[in-house]
């Protein structure tokens, strides 16, 4: 039982991180109808910026590395992500308004390639570490209930807390602010939104910036866990089935989808893996998403897809 719970917790924590990446997808899809394949590349780019600036800033300003320098690095990274968002809107999306979703998807694939090349070129391509002072010690919980308790990492708990806060903030933003409403209108129909006076260009910059900030959060959490390296951009591929499972248009769906995939992955690896050769983590999520798609094409919480001819 203790082992099962440990696997379960491990899965929940990984799931939370998948959910964060998935959140970036859902944000952009909700607000612009673009399925942003570049989210993974943005995570890598943001993490690289964060890792390098937290190294460089103390040197430039002649201060000791500490809370202040980390905060400064975060601010600089956020500014960079906003700049990236502005450039993407200016150079790519502005010219692709009202195009087919598939065209936009392929454009984001191109952007992903661009960022994947650009990031390492200016920031270097070694493995970097991010240290924002999150505690890394493992702790035992529920010791009263089981012998030996359940081993969890404190870092994961913080990460999960940050993720939950982020989701809450974004939900409020989308539901209750004027900008959020405008974003939802844009997602519904570009043309209609434009015709009632919503500035499309500014909306897209806003939502891509928000997605960039989410990418930065993911980059910091994953980066401080695993180090900043190219494989970070592959977490996006992990998050795809999460979005499909939860529904492309639902923020809570991304979270719940992430948790289901995280737990499913770990449990299947531990209990099902040995039977068919192990290493099934990588495609299990896709299998799960595929099976659900056949029954419920819009995902668990997505809006129903209606075809009009």
């Amino acid at each position: 039982m203790g082992f099962f719970l440990e696997t379960l917790f491990g899965g929940l924590m990984t799931g939370m991180l998948y959910a964060l990446v998935a959140l970036g997808f859902v944000l952009i899809f909700k607000a612009s109808g673009v399925f942003n394949f570049a989210q993974g590349a943005m995570v890598l780019f943001a993490a690289l910026a964060m890792a390098r600036f937290s190294e460089w800033i103390p040197g430039w300003l002649g201060m000791a590395p500490g809370v202040l320098s980390v905060l400064l690095a975060i601010v600089v990274s956020i500014l960079i992500m906003v700049g990236v968002a502005w450039l993407i809107e200016r150079l790519a999306l502005r010219h692709l308004v009202n195009q087919e979703p598939i065209t936009l998807l392929m454009a984001t694939l191109g952007i992903a390639y661009l960022l994947d090349g650009f990031g390492p070129m200016i920031f270097g391509s070694a493995v970097y570490s991010i240290n924002v002072g999150m505690p890394k010690d493992p702790v035992f919980i529920l010791e009263g209930m089981f012998e030996g308790g359940v081993l969890v990492s404190l870092e994961d708990f913080y990460a999960a807390g940050i993720a939950a806060a982020l989701v809450a903030a974004l939900t409020v933003f989308f539901q209750f602010t004027k900008t959020g409403r405008a974003l939802r209108a844009v997602a519904d129909d570009h043309q209609a939104a434009q015709s009632i006076g919503i500035p499309l260009a500014r909306m897209w910059v806003i939502v891509w910036s928000v997605a960039g900030v989410v990418a930065l959060v993911v980059g910091i959490i994953w980066g401080s866990k695993l180090g900043v390296q190219y494989s970070l951009s592959l977490v996006a591929l992990k998050a795809l089935p999460v979005v499909i499972l939860g529904g492309l248009t639902s923020l809570p769906g991304a979270i719940i989808g992430g948790l289901i995939i995280g737990v499913g992955e770990k449990l299947s690896e531990v209990y099902l893996g040995p039977m068919i050769g192990g290493g099934i983590e990588n495609w299990f999520a896709y299998g799960l998403a595929l099976a659900l798609l056949l029954v419920r094409p819009q995902g668990l919480f997505g809006e129903k897809i209606i075809d009009r001819v």
Partner: protein, 354 residues
């Protein structure tokens, strides 16, 4: 001036329905074929065969297959690498498990197995489409990555996980020099490209295009979506599977699962975007572009006297590809093929503008 069709009257339905209705085109294609089959083998060096021509031919074949699915039938696929892997590993298994299996039969067998695999993973396309389908085809990719690296029977219990094709020969013809390999690939590409061209301009090709343009409307006018979509998946996967088998057998010789990773899928998709969606000749342009650009990026700094490190060159290549994809989608969504046909149209009416 020479590219005129004045006086070329079509007096039969046959003449009206030729692939190349203009005489000059037919002459040009024949000249091109003569060049490819006779002049190039006489002139090119081994390096050119191995680094440029053979990868180009095989990638062109793969892009052709993918273009049928994405460009003609509108079903986006990100699992092309997996379909190539199925072709390569199936052909390998045919070779090692059946003694004296002819090479061509193995290659075609690889294509057929890929076809079945493609149709199975094409089944979701009956219920989902667009972005969702793209993710569904990724499932094929990850499943194949896992199968080829974990399942022992796929690699014939090879201890290192890599497999090797061994010497190639067709009916006594030993294919061991790069020139002979080139000729084999060229012949296969020509046959399959001709078949594909004829398919897309026949009834089934029109069904695919109707499904692409609007599948509900196509169903209303009596096109069976299941039949059209699955046949597109089948034909496409067959060609991609043959390309995969050739990539493994002819180009690599020995390969590991990583040879058919997700990067390969993206590369093929980029080729058809840059070359031109829904165009057979566009697949060739895209593949040529994709093979030549890295070489170009390697040589240009040398000529200019700017030494570029390998890492920088790789990143630069990434960036240029990414930028080009966005550029093409914005400026010319129909790719190089559209530029080509615009140029031909201009030439036809020259010196008049219309």
């Amino acid at each position: 001036m020479f590219y005129r069709e004045n006086g070329q009257f079509k007096t039969s339905y046959r003449a009206d329905q030729q692939i190349f209705p203009i005489l000059q085109d037919r002459v040009a294609v024949l000249l091109l074929l003569a060049l490819a089959f006779v002049a190039v083998p006489l002139l090119a060096s081994d390096y050119v065969f191995q680094a440029v021509l053979i990868p180009f031919l095989i990638m062109a074949l793969g892009a052709l297959g993918l273009n049928i699915l994405v460009g003609y039938c509108g079903q986006i696929s990100l699992g092309t690498g997996a379909f190539m892997a199925v072709g390569a590993y199936a052909a390998f298994n045919f070779q090692v498990r059946f003694d004296g299996m002819p090479l061509l039969v193995s290659l075609l067998g690889g294509g057929l197995v890929a076809m079945v695999f493609g149709m199975v993973f094409g089944l979701p396309s009956l219920r989902i489409r667009g972005l969702y389908l793209a993710v569904a085809t990724l499932a094929a990719q990850f499943f194949m990555d896992w199968l080829t690296s974990r399942a022992k029977w796929v690699t014939n219990n090879s201890s290192s996980g890599s497999v090797s094709a061994g010497p190639l020969s067709i009916a006594g013809w030993k294919i061991d020099t790069p020139m002979e390999k080139y000729l084999l690939c060229l012949a296969i590409l020509c046959v399959l490209a001709l078949a594909a061209k004829n398919l897309v301009r026949s009834a089934i090709g029109r069904e695919w295009m109707a499904i692409r343009d609007m599948d509900v409307a196509a169903a209303v006018i009596g096109i069976r979506p299941m039949y059209a979509k699955l046949s597109a998946f089948g034909v496409s996967s067959f060609i991609v599977g043959v390309a995969g088998a050739l990539w493994g057998f002819v180009h690599l010789g020995a390969w590991e699962p990583a040879a058919f990773s997700i990067d390969r899928s993206f590369q093929l998709l980029f080729m058809i975007i840059i070359g031109g969606l829904g165009s057979i000749v566009g697949s060739l342009f895209g593949a040529a572009f994709f093979v030549l650009l890295p070489l170009f990026l390697n040589y240009v700094p040398h000529w200019l006297g700017l030494p570029l490190s390998t890492a920088t060159a790789t990143y630069l290549e990434h960036m240029i590809f990414g930028a080009l994809i966005v550029f093409f989608l914005i400026v010319e969504p129909h790719g190089l093929a559209r530029l080509w046909s615009t140029a031909r149209q201009k030439l036809r009416v020259w010196p008049f503008p219309h």
